[in-house]
């Protein structure tokens, strides 16, 4: 069965993944095979079944609006690749 065409270069760009030409060619060959496999699901008759993104009929899992203390800032910033005083230091990110 013919699967939908996937533009590997575009997907890689959206996911900010750098691929070598060789990798791009490899994935371009492999992805249609994977899609064709998943496409087998189309042989099931799902007419009359409501589409859902969850397998369990569970709804309204809600939390009360009660504050809890946050983490110790020193522990939080210990995970930062770089620190700018009490903030996470990142390359300048002004959209211009």
């Amino acid at each position: 069965m013919a699967a939908e065409e996937i533009d590997v270069a575009y997907v890689a760009q959206l996911a900010t993944i750098r691929l070598t030409d060789e990798e791009a060619r490899l994935f371009q060959r492999q992805l249609p095979v994977i899609l064709a496999y998943v496409d087998k699901l189309r042989c099931l008759d799902v007419s009359g079944i409501e589409p859902t993104s969850h397998g369990h009929p569970v709804y309204n899992v809600l939390r009360e609006d009660v504050p809890e203390p946050g983490l110790d800032p020193e522990r939080v910033l210990a995970n930062a690749p770089a620190r700018l005083r009490d903030t996470f230091k990142v390359p300048r990110i002004v959209e211009s």
Binding site: L14, T16, S53, H54, H56, V58, Y59, N60, V61, L62, R63, E64, D65, V66, P67, E68, G70, L71, P73, V76, L77, L84, R85, D86, T87, F88, K89, V90, P91, R92, I93, V94, E95, S96
Partner: protein, 480 residues
């Protein structure tokens, strides 16, 4: 050739909901606290950390939707919107795509001709805010305190046709949201932010022109000025025979111009997909009905009722109805003192003057409706003069307490000594035989008249309670 174009404006407004905690975790929603102190693995976007929906955020969104005439989606879901930016370390924002909590809706805006124009809403959905970035010369610092704060996004149809209408819409929306208390709507703190879409087309053309998106307006007047500039800019381009390109422009408040940010070609492909970590929100019709029954009156409806029910001028009614707490205060006073006009006069002039002078809203001041009723009663009965009343009002506003008690305790122009009052009571009883006769005939109000006469004779210095007792005793003697 210069011509007038038809303008179509649509708004996307982000409103921070007034919750104590963030949308998906128990971290406090605090403003102005040290960076990265209200954060946890969920709002820092750690892998594997699971979001749990804040019940209050959902309720506030549903309440807002019902107040704005939306229909509620009985089945609502959440989605991931993918993009890469340091203010969103999960690399996706949790928002709602095709099943938002609220659909449709209407906000009426006042027009200059006195009429009202309905502006249609497309939807209201719930999403999480991103972190705050502070920019330095070659680095940015990211503070995650704001990350995960609940935002309600309100999207309108392009029904607005001028900068003035857009400003009127934002003002009306802000009033309603403040009134129902779902948001602080503090623009300086970023509680309410607005993006604008604007397009022009020649008269007679039905299809909308190419739209331009404007960002970075932090105030209602900013949105107004940015639109005014952008409408003039697009008119000039079209007048000169040019084409409008679809783009996003940034309002620069300092120079008063809009600046190109990105064109349509750079538009993001957000790759929305269902958020697997959050279950659907199901709100059955009976719950929606219960919520609807709990809604307060809309300011416009209350304004009309206040004017009708209490016989106060439209202007007074509109000022009072714009602030729910103030309107509640007014109604409490008006019902106790029996006259809406007097209650309104006191609140509109003296109380609001104190509210402004002390920068203290009526909810935070110490003045109770009961205290104001006492004060009004004492002035009406001429127990105290206007100057004393103003002083007592300010004291009650700042420190609370009963004005009647103050007058008594501090002997503010009062005489309570029965020896001194006897003479006045005797004189009044002798001078008003008709009232005494009326009282004997069973007319209770006659005693009130005599008390009033004694108060008058004492130039407002007599204690009305003592006078009341003395007059009662004297009348009883007359009877016997």
């Amino acid at each position: 050739m210069k011509q007038t174009y038809r303008v179509s404006i649509g708004l996307e407004i982000h409103v921070q909901l007034k919750t104590r905690t963030k949308l998906f975790c128990g971290c406090a929603t605090s403003f102005g606290v040290p960076p990265n102190t209200c954060v946890c693995p969920v709002c820092l976007g750690y892998p594997g950390a699971m979001p749990v929906m804040n019940r209050e955020a959902v309720r506030l969104t549903l309440v807002s939707g019902l107040m704005l005439g939306c229909s509620i989606n009985t089945y609502s879901t959440f989605d991931r919107k993918s993009y890469f930016y340091p203010d969103m370390p999960k690399n996706y924002q949790i928002t709602q795509y095709d099943k938002p909590l609220c659909l449709d809706g209407i906000i009426d805006i006042p027009m200059t001709d006195g009429g009202r124009k309905p502006i249609r809403l497309i939807r209201i959905h719930l999403e999480e805010d991103v972190a705050k970035s502070m920019h330095e010369s070659s680095w940015s610092g990211v503070d995650f305190n704001r990350a995960g704060t609940p935002l309600m996004e309100i999207v309108t149809h392009p029904d607005l046709t001028s900068a003035d209408e857009a400003a009127a819409f934002l003002t009306a929306l802000r009033h309603i949201l403040l009134y129902i208390g779902v948001s602080a709507c503090n623009l300086e703190e970023g509680n309410m932010r607005c993006d604008v879409n604007v397009s022009l087309r020649p008269p007679g053309q039905d299809a909308l022109g190419t739209k331009v998106e404007l960002k970075n307006m932090n105030t209602i007047s900013g949105a107004h000025d940015a639109l005014q500039y952008e409408i003039a800019r697009q008119s000039e381009v079209l007048d000169a025979g040019g084409r409008i390109v679809q783009e996003t422009r940034r309002w620069d408040v300092d120079s008063g111009v809009t600046i190109h940010m990105r064109s349509k070609e750079d538009a993001h492909d957000y790759r929305y997909f269902a958020e697997p970590d959050l279950l659907p929100i199901v709100t059955p019709p009976d719950q929606i009905d219960a919520l609807r029954r709990s809604l307060p009156e809309l300011p416009a409806v209350r304004r009309e009722r206040l004017a009708r029910q209490y016989g106060i001028p439209d202007y007074d009614a509109s000022v009072l109805a714009a602030d729910r707490a103030l309107a509640d205060f007014f109604e409490a006073v008006a019902q106790r003192c029996g006259t809406g006009k007097t209650a309104s006069n006191w609140i509109m002039t003296d109380v609001l003057r104190l509210v402004a002078a002390h920068e203290t809203p009526v909810t935070a001041c110490a003045l109770t409706p009961e205290a104001l009723v006492e004060l009004i009663g004492m002035v009406e009965a001429r127990t105290i003069n206007a100057l004393t009343a103003k002083e007592l009002l300010e004291e009650a506003f700042l420190s609370g307490g009963s004005p009647t008690e103050q007058v008594r305790a501090r002997g503010l122009a009062q005489v309570s000594d029965s020896g001194a009052l006897d003479g006045w009571v005797d004189a009044v009883v002798q001078a008003n035989p008709k009232s005494v006769a009326d009282w004997k005939a069973g007319k209770q109000a006659a005693a009130g008249f005599l008390i009033g006469q004694v108060m008058k004779l004492s130039k407002g210095k007599a204690d009305p309670k003592v006078v009341g007792r003395l007059v009662g005793e004297r009348l009883a003697q007359q009877n016997g």
